[in-house]
């Protein structure tokens, strides 16, 4: 599979990433300068992880908290990496994997897995280029805009990221009831930690970890997901 096909396939992801990272840029520009905000996007390339990351930075959380939150939020990438490793061509050597693993994101992974053919390193590289540029450039644009635009406008753009989260969760919840239960548990615990006395002292990073692990363990125990036959 060709590099140029990868570039074309990556275009819609790149555009979507620009929009989403724009709102990440705005959120982070409240306490970091645009260069530092953009550097986060260029080195991480992950929406939920980065978003939790800046929440922890802003709350001056501990490094342990940062490491644990990043670990659990991004643990799904390990699963994707494992499944992607079954789908690549033999020419996808260790060196290529070291460089191209950076491009394992929800959307790029999903697009790669939807291909009929095996994934070659050149195609995967092509697929990663525009999303990476879109993500970095969107962050830069957003973080500059966040410092210039009036608060009413940046606040409204700031919810774009939550809008995207909701757009990921709702369709799944609609068609899969156990996910609805898992999500409801996560939200209930999150609210509890935010409003209950004593518990509200727990920092945001740990709250996210506790919510996600408790709700996911519960759902995995009582509603294991059926194996898909391929």
């Amino acid at each position: 599979m060709k590099f140029s096909k990868g570039i074309c396939d990556g275009l819609p992801i790149g555009i979507g990433y620009f929009a989403v990272s724009f709102s990440f840029g705005i959120a982070a520009s409240k306490f970091l300068n645009p260069c530092l905000v953009t550097l986060i996007s260029m080195t991480n390339l992950t929406s939920a992880g980065q978003f939790a990351g800046i929440q922890i930075m802003q709350a001056a959380g501990t490094l342990v908290e940062m490491i644990l939150a990043t670990f659990f939020i991004n643990l799904r990438y390990s699963l994707m990496a494992i499944s992607l490793s079954q789908k690549v061509t033999p020419s996808f050597g260790t060196l290529q994997r070291i460089f191209l693993s950076m491009g394992i994101t929800d959307e790029i992974y999903a697009l790669a897995m939807s291909q009929k053919e095996r994934i070659s390193p050149t195609y995967y590289f092509g697929l990663t280029v525009l999303p990476y540029i879109g993500w970095s450039l969107g962050t830069l644009t957003g973080s500059v805009a966040g410092q210039i635009l009036p608060t009413v406008l940046t606040n409204s753009l700031g919810v774009a990221l939550y809008g995207m989260f909701i757009a990921i969760v709702v369709p799944k919840v609609k068609q899969h009831r156990p996910t609805l239960i898992a999500v409801a548990i996560a939200i209930a615990i999150s609210l509890l930690f935010h409003y209950a006395p004593v518990l509200s002292n727990v920092t945001p990073g740990f709250v996210i970890i506790i919510c996600a692990i408790t709700a996911s363990l519960f759902a995995a125990k009582f509603f294991p997901i059926e194996e898909k036959t391929e």
Binding site: M66, I67, R97, M102, N155, V159, G163, K221
Partner: protein, 105 residues
């Protein structure tokens, strides 16, 4: 936050994220077999995103009413089966309308 603190946070975030992607990609050639851990990993993205959204969304806008408007709009538009970008735009528009109205009146 000093630049040193920033650098430590960045290194922790980027390092953990990179290793999570790379180590299994290089080492593991087999799929995870345990249905329990597969299910756990499948639920994680949704529980993480929900916990990150609620109640945090209520503290990002000028008022809780505009945040509630964004939340309801986003859920509504998602239920209609629209994509990420459209849902995000609708949520922004809802906040702009409500907060804008507060400014005007």
């Amino acid at each position: 936050m000093s630049i040193t603190e920033y650098a430590k946070y960045l290194l922790a975030m980027a390092g953990v994220t990179y290793l999570l992607r790379t180590i299994p990609f290089i080492l593991l050639k087999k799929n995870i077999e345990s249905p329990f851990w597969k299910s756990f990993l499948a639920y994680v993205p949704y529980t993480v995103l929900s916990a990150m959204t609620i109640p945090a969304i209520f503290y990002t806008t000028n008022s809780k009413i505009s945040a509630a408007a964004a939340l309801i709009t986003a859920i509504g538009v998602s239920l209609l089966g629209r994509g990420l970008v459209l849902v995000a735009i609708a949520a922004c528009a809802a906040v702009l309308c409500v907060d804008g109205a507060f400014l005007v009146f």
